[in-house]
Each structure stands twice: as structure tokens, then as C-alpha cells.
């Protein structure tokens, strides 16, 4: 009698834990559950922004602390006719258009970009999946480039439009002005002392070192200053944010 009751209770506890696991699937399917679930991101963002000085630097490493092989992920080759044509001539015709809420829209060629003073940093790249790789990046800082274009008062976010497509959807990402003007936020065209390779985002990718890998847009062809993220893509500020509920603020 006691044994059966005990067994029933053990079974009950196990089922309770299992039910909680399965119940989570039910909760995230409801409107209220979803809202609750998504409330973690603004809380994390507010806490991190309060704790982290806006100019605090991501850790930098020495050359011998780098990963032997720097893993590439996401799009490894945009492989569109336009991209391939540009690649065939070593991106001589590649232009990065800087527009939106700026006083003076600019078209930057790779030669322009390479002529600018560069910042070199050995940093850790953290993929949302959990792996990390350490590499040495060089390129001009984004902040002075935006200043040159003359950011308007109403600009709140910087959007990076990319040449790679997922199906028909173009990859894009966005950051706010805190990260845009951070000293380590650069438009990298060099990785580990070599011109950036196609799998890693040639000719230019973003480095925004205090956030996860998917924020580091590759194959950048346009940089747009906007007042809000609402009108762009699915409105959540990035390809993965739109299609799969990844956090826009990826500092954790």
C-alpha cells in the first residue's frame, strides 16, 4: 500500500517535471506567454547598459592566443551574380553607400576604406550557438565615418544591408548609436593579417565586439541611419531577429 502510494508519488513528481518541460511549449504558444518570454530581453539590455560603461572595451588578446583556424558560419558565400562579378575583379567596383538620416550621403570604395586610419584588435568572436574563436581584425572605426557623413539628430539606429540572401531575403543587422560609436566598432577588411576571405564576409564586415556573432554583419553594401527599426525587413532589426526570435540586443 505504502509502496504503491510512494510509486504513485514518484511517478507524479517525474510527470510534474516532464509536464513543466512540455508546459513550456504550451506557454510560449500563447500571446501572454510569448510576451512574458520576450520581456527578458529589455530587462537584460537595461541592466547591461546600466552596468557597462558605454566605452568599456571588449577584452583584447595577444597574437599567440588566437584560434588556429577562425571558423566561418552563416553565409559562407553569397554566390549571387552581382557578388560573383564583383569578386572576380577583387571588389574593385564594390561601394558601401552610407545614407538615410545623414547630411551628406557617401559612396565608399574599398580604396577609400583602406586609405582610412585603421584600428587593429585581437578579439573573441562568440557565436550564439556557443562556440568562440579569437582573431585579429583591422579596419576603420565606424564612428568617424558616420561623423563624416553627418548623422542627423533624429537618427537612432544604424542598419547594415548585406549582399547575402537567405532564400530571397537579404541579410541585415542593426545596432544603436552607443555601439555604432564604440571605439572597437570597425568595418573590418583584414582578418589575421590577410585580406578578408569570402567565408568571413569579404570585402567588408562589421565588428561590434560586445555582442554575439550574428550582429557582425558580413558582405556590407549599405549603411543606413534610421529613426526606428519599424520600417526595415520584418521590423525587428535583423534577419535572425525577424525570422527566429533571436534577441536584437545580443550582449548575452
Amino acid at each position: 500500500m505504502i509502496l504503491t502510494r510512494r510509486r504513485a508519488l514518484v511517478g507524479g513528481l517525474a510527470a510534474g517535471a516532464g509536464g513543466l518541460l512540455a508546459g513550456c511549449d504550451a506557454v510560449q504558444g500563447t500571446d501572454i506567454g510569448r510576451k512574458l518570454l520576450l520581456s527578458g530581453e529589455p530587462a537584460t539590455q537595461a541592466l547591461q547598459r546600466a552596468l557597462i560603461d558605454r566605452t568599456a572595451l571588449a577584452p583584447e588578446f595577444s597574437a599567440d592566443q588566437r584560434s588556429p583556424i577562425f571558423r566561418a558560419n552563416g553565409t559562407r558565400n553569397p554566390n549571387t551574380p552581382t557578388y560573383n562579378a564583383s569578386l572576380a575583379q577583387n571588389f574593385a567596383d564594390w561601394r558601401i553607400r552610407i545614407d538615410g538620416l545623414v547630411a551628406r550621403p557617401v559612396d565608399l570604395s574599398l580604396a577609400d576604406l583602406r586609405a582610412m586610419p585603421a584600428r587593429t584588435q585581437i578579439t573573441r568572436h562568440d557565436c550564439v550557438e556557443g562556440w568562440s574563436a579569437i582573431g585579429k581584425w583591422s579596419g576603420p572605426r565606424l564612428g568617424p565615418i558616420l561623423e563624416r557623413a553627418g548623422l542627423q539628430q533624429r537618427a537612432r539606429y544604424i542598419v547594415f544591408h548585406c549582399a547575402d540572401r537567405f532564400g530571397t531575403r537579404p541579410y541585415y543587422e542593426s545596432i544603436d548609436l552607443v555601439d555604432a560609436f564604440h571605439p572597437q566598432t570597425i568595418l573590418a577588411w583584414v582578418l589575421n593579417d590577410r585580406v578578408l576571405s569570402v567565408p568571413n564576409g569579404a570585402p567588408v564586415r562589421l565588428r561590434v565586439e560586445r555582442q554575439l556573432g550574428y550582429k557582425h554583419a558580413k558582405y556590407i553594401e549599405r549603411i543606413e541611419a534610421v529613426p526606428s527599426l519599424a520600417g526595415i525587413g520584418g521590423g525587428k532589426g535583423g534577419y535572425w531577429e525577424d525570422v527566429a526570435d533571436y534577441e536584437w540586443y545580443a550582449g548575452i
Binding site: 514518484v10 527578458g40 537584460t44 555582442q211 550582449g251
Partner: protein, 238 residues
């Protein structure tokens, strides 16, 4: 005559209720996050070309933790992160509040302090034998925790939980900029990820043993005491 004691304060019961939910959600969503890159490394970096010390494939042939153990039950890294990072805040701030409350109301000092003599081999041996004989309470002080109980609670509250929280924070590229010393403390982000996993296994193991002992000690009585605070002294102890 039935003898009852007020065993758990409101703060302890509240914290326990929060943890009962948070720990299960964090373990389940954590296992799903592990599925996104089912390997663990030591050091600052670690990815596919580097040497892992642990692969999920060693435990599960499919190379992933099965869906009945994960949140969500089918592969979804984004939602697993949403669950994990929301309840990580719950777990962290609840622990902080509980620690402050338990210092102020002297729960730690009175009930959990490991006293001189508690760690003597003879005491530990006697307590272990009592556990194996399913005797969990000192007849003279039925409301007090025994030595093994104290040690497991103390190690979870002051070691495993702080460890799992701090290693979790160490994985944040944002917080790395504010508190780089965390990386030095744990030997790099991938080491922190490994220690996070080990501490989570510790907490999972604690939960299983804890539930088993609750069942052996009498589910009804133990459940009532963690919900209402009142615990009935078992017959054989009086």
C-alpha cells in the same frame, strides 16, 4: 499527541517555490542551448576545429540531447535562449534576495551553520549510516538539519548556485567588457561554459537526490512543510 514544528519561514518557502520552477526551466532550456553546439572546451576559445573535452554524442547517439529533456521540445535555439535568459534573471535575483533575508533573519547562522564537530569523521559516518537506514532526524532535535543535509544545502547555496550564475555572466560578451576579471577567474569563456555545464549537472543531481529523499522521508509531510511551513515530527522520532 501530534507534534508539529514551524520549520520553514516564508522567505525560504517562497525562494523554494521560485527555484522549483526556475531550476527545471533553466536545466531544460540549457540542454537545448547545448544542442546548438554540443561540445565543450577548456580555455579562451573553442569551435569545430578545436579539441573538445566533452561531446553530447558520447551520451546520445543522435549527437543531441533528446527532446523530452529540453525546452522547447523540438530544436529551437532562439526560444531556448529566451527561456534561459529570462529565468536566469529570476534565479539570480531570487538567490540574492534570499541570501540577504536569510542573513537578516539569521536562518543561515542558526540552521545552516556547520558547527565544530559536524565534520568529524565519526559524526559524518554516523549520519551516513542513519541515512542508509532511512533515519533522517535527530530524535532530540527533530527540526534541525543533519550534517549531510547541511553540507548539501550549504554547498548548493554558496558554491553551485553562485558558480552557475557567475560562469553564466562570464559567457556574456557585454559583461566581459565591464567585468573582464570574470574571464581571468574562470580561465576564459569556453572554460566558463564548461564549468557552467558542470555546475548545472551538480544542481540537476542535487535536485534528483533531494526529491528522492523527500519521497523517502514522507512526501505528504515534507510537501506540507515547504508549502505551509508546518512539519509534523515523525512518530518514530518522538
Amino acid at each position: 499527541m501530534m507534534q508539529t514544528v514551524y520549520r520553514h519561514r516564508l522567505t525560504t518557502r517562497l525562494w523554494h517555490a521560485i527555484n522549483a520552477v526556475a531550476i527545471v526551466i533553466l536545466l531544460g532550456s540549457g540542454l537545448m542551448i547545448l544542442n546548438a553546439h554540443p561540445q565543450l572546451y577548456w580555455g579562451r576559445f573553442g569551435a569545430n576545429f578545436d579539441q573538445p573535452w566533452f561531446r553530447v554524442a558520447w551520451l546520445f547517439e543522435a549527437g543531441r540531447v533528446p527532446g523530452w529533456l529540453t525546452i522547447p521540445q523540438t530544436y529551437n535555439l532562439a526560444l531556448a535562449r529566451r527561456w534561459h535568459l529570462l529565468f536566469a534573471l529570476v534565479l539570480g535575483f531570487a538567490l540574492l534576495a534570499y541570501m540577504v533575508a536569510s542573513l537578516v533573519n539569521r536562518h543561515f547562522q542558526r540552521d545552516l551553520r556547520v558547527r565544530r564537530g559536524d565534520l568529524a569523521p565519526r559524526t559524518l559516518w554516523a549520519d551516513l549510516r542513519a541515512h542508509l537506514a532511512l533515519r533522517f532526524h535527530d530524535p532530540d532535535h527533530p527540526g534541525a538539519y543533519n550534517v549531510l543535509q547541511k553540507l548539501s544545502y550549504v554547498s548548493v547555496i554558496f558554491v553551485a548556485l553562485p558558480l552557475v550564475i557567475l560562469t553564466g555572466l562570464t559567457m556574456s560578451p557585454g559583461l566581459n567588457a565591464a567585468w573582464p576579471w570574470l574571464l581571468d577567474l574562470f580561465g576564459g569563456r569556453q572554460s566558463a561554459r564548461s564549468i557552467h555545464f558542470i555546475a548545472a549537472v551538480w544542481l540537476g543531481g542535487f535536485t534528483i537526490v533531494h526529491l528522492a529523499l523527500v519521497i523517502l522521508a514522507g512526501v505528504g509531510n515534507e510537501l506540507r512543510s515547504i508549502i505551509t511551513g508546518w512539519w509534523r515530527v515523525p512518530e518514530e522520532d518522538r
